[in-house]
Symmetry: C2
Subunit: 277 residues, 2 copies
């Protein structure tokens, strides 16, 4: 039976999705008005319980942007339980809902971006997520604006620990085989479960809203700058690193694929066009 | 100290590399004569011991083809030893040499192909490898020719078990999250260590030679057929599956990257241009 908290979290993720999709469609109308693009939504059902909706747009500004919301439940296979708080005690039963977004802009001067927020319930209840930026050509001012927005979101909520979440992001989005970071970072958090669920949830909502604001600003700011074929090629190569990270290391991706998740929804994060030189 | 067998295996892999590179360069001259392309070789050194040479060609026929030979030695980290025959007994010490080739043709009507042969020594000595074909548009006659060549290579050597090696290939090159095969198969074998090392080695050599012959025939046969942009797009999408397999499942790739292998040599297998639609 879905609890009140589960309902509220799930509704929030759907509302945030609507809000962000509208904002990104707004950017398309504003910045690429010749051909107005919209998100196309596809519902999917998870075999073990629950499902989700994948919203995908291929536009003029965003070569590919996907926003997936899901609400799933079921029983974790025994081999996964030990790694998940409270899963052994719950005999594997879990509930999870979340939103994940990956934006791959067409212009090499507009950073790619990623947002994820989720709530998970076993015998414990916690939030996880984060937001991070992957420019091909990092611009200090822009990196500062993104980090500043995440810092402000954390500062407004006593449950959040910005320095820790920032460092966690740097450590997580790292390609050891290349000895390089995936992007310029942001925040990453997991197991967020203070004594104050309302406070945790309020922070998670703020991360989503802060991301929407700062990222749409960055896109608007950079989209009209012209770029060269060499810059575009650098973007396609940078995207290869994104693929390497997601398929080799990203726990959400590998876990989802290995536990029978919807491959289209999970791999929605992969860039539309990639080059390995 | 390198043994006689190690020296012979290592020399063979280098000789096969020379032979295959010459054959593929020959196809370039023959089929795309306007702009003759050649392999470019780069030596690399492995931090823990040994090294290799990566030969790479970007041509008119082959959009990207890499042939890597390596001869490495050192000590496996304790966490890997249990999975490797004789490694615990050898206190982790190993020697390994091999050749691996991945060819990504430009034409969607010419199949991509993969060849790998290797010898590994701990307290045990064994061979592994295989060859398989990945067409975007499988043609039955062509698939039959490839399988026929592998079957003939096996038939000539009592140490080889074609039905088993063929099935092993089908099982190995499979994407469970897509519920689809990477390609049309071929052969795959590992732990090949009969009482007759000479026989094992002769079979491994034959696999390399059989591959060279059948694959150059297939390329020559298909290269002049004209193709459409839709077919090219299908190739780029098919290549995405190749990337997914190699980064998510391929043991050589993930093992190599996680044990400090040369990322450029390991990821040489990734296609030059890829699309996730």
């Amino acid at each position: 039976m879905t609890t009140e908290r589960e309902k509220r979290a799930s509704s929030w993720f759907a509302a945030l999705r609507d809000d962000i999709c509208a904002a990104l469609e707004g950017l398309e109308s504003e910045l690429a008005p010749d051909c107005p693009h919209h998100f196309h939504r596809d519902d999917w059902v998870r075999e073990g319980g629950g499902g989700g909706t994948m919203a995908l747009m291929r536009g003029g500004v965003f070569e590919k942007v996907g926003v997936n919301v899901s609400e799933v439940h079921g029983v974790f296979a025994p081999e996964f339980r030990r790694a998940i708080p409270g899963a052994v005690e719950a005999e594997g039963r879990f509930w999870a809902a979340g939103l994940s977004l990956v934006a791959h802009p067409r212009s090499p001067l507009v950073p790619a971006a990623h947002l994820n927020t989720r709530m998970i319930v076993t015998t414990k209840t916690w939030f996880g997520g984060g937001a991070d930026l992957t420019p091909t050509f990092p611009v200090e001012e822009e990196t500062r604006a993104f980090h500043g927005a995440m810092e402000a979101a954390c500062a407004a909520h006593p449950v959040a620990d910005y320095p820790r979440f920032k460092q966690w992001c740097d450590e997580y989005f790292y390609l050891p085989h290349r000895n390089e970071a995936r992007g310029v970072g942001g925040i990453f958090f997991d197991d967020l479960s203070s004594a104050d669920w309302e406070g945790d949830f309020a922070f998670v909502r703020e991360v989503g809203l802060a991301f929407r604001q700062v990222y749409t600003d960055l896109v608007r700011h950079n989209m009209r700058r012209s770029w060269t074929p060499e810059q575009r090629r650098a973007l396609l190569i940078k995207r290869g690193r994104y693929v390497e990270f997601n398929l080799l290391y990203d726990r959400g991706t590998t876990f989802g694929l290995k536990t029978g998740g919807n491959p289209e929804a999970i791999l929605m994060s992969l860039p539309p066009e990639v080059v390995w030189p």
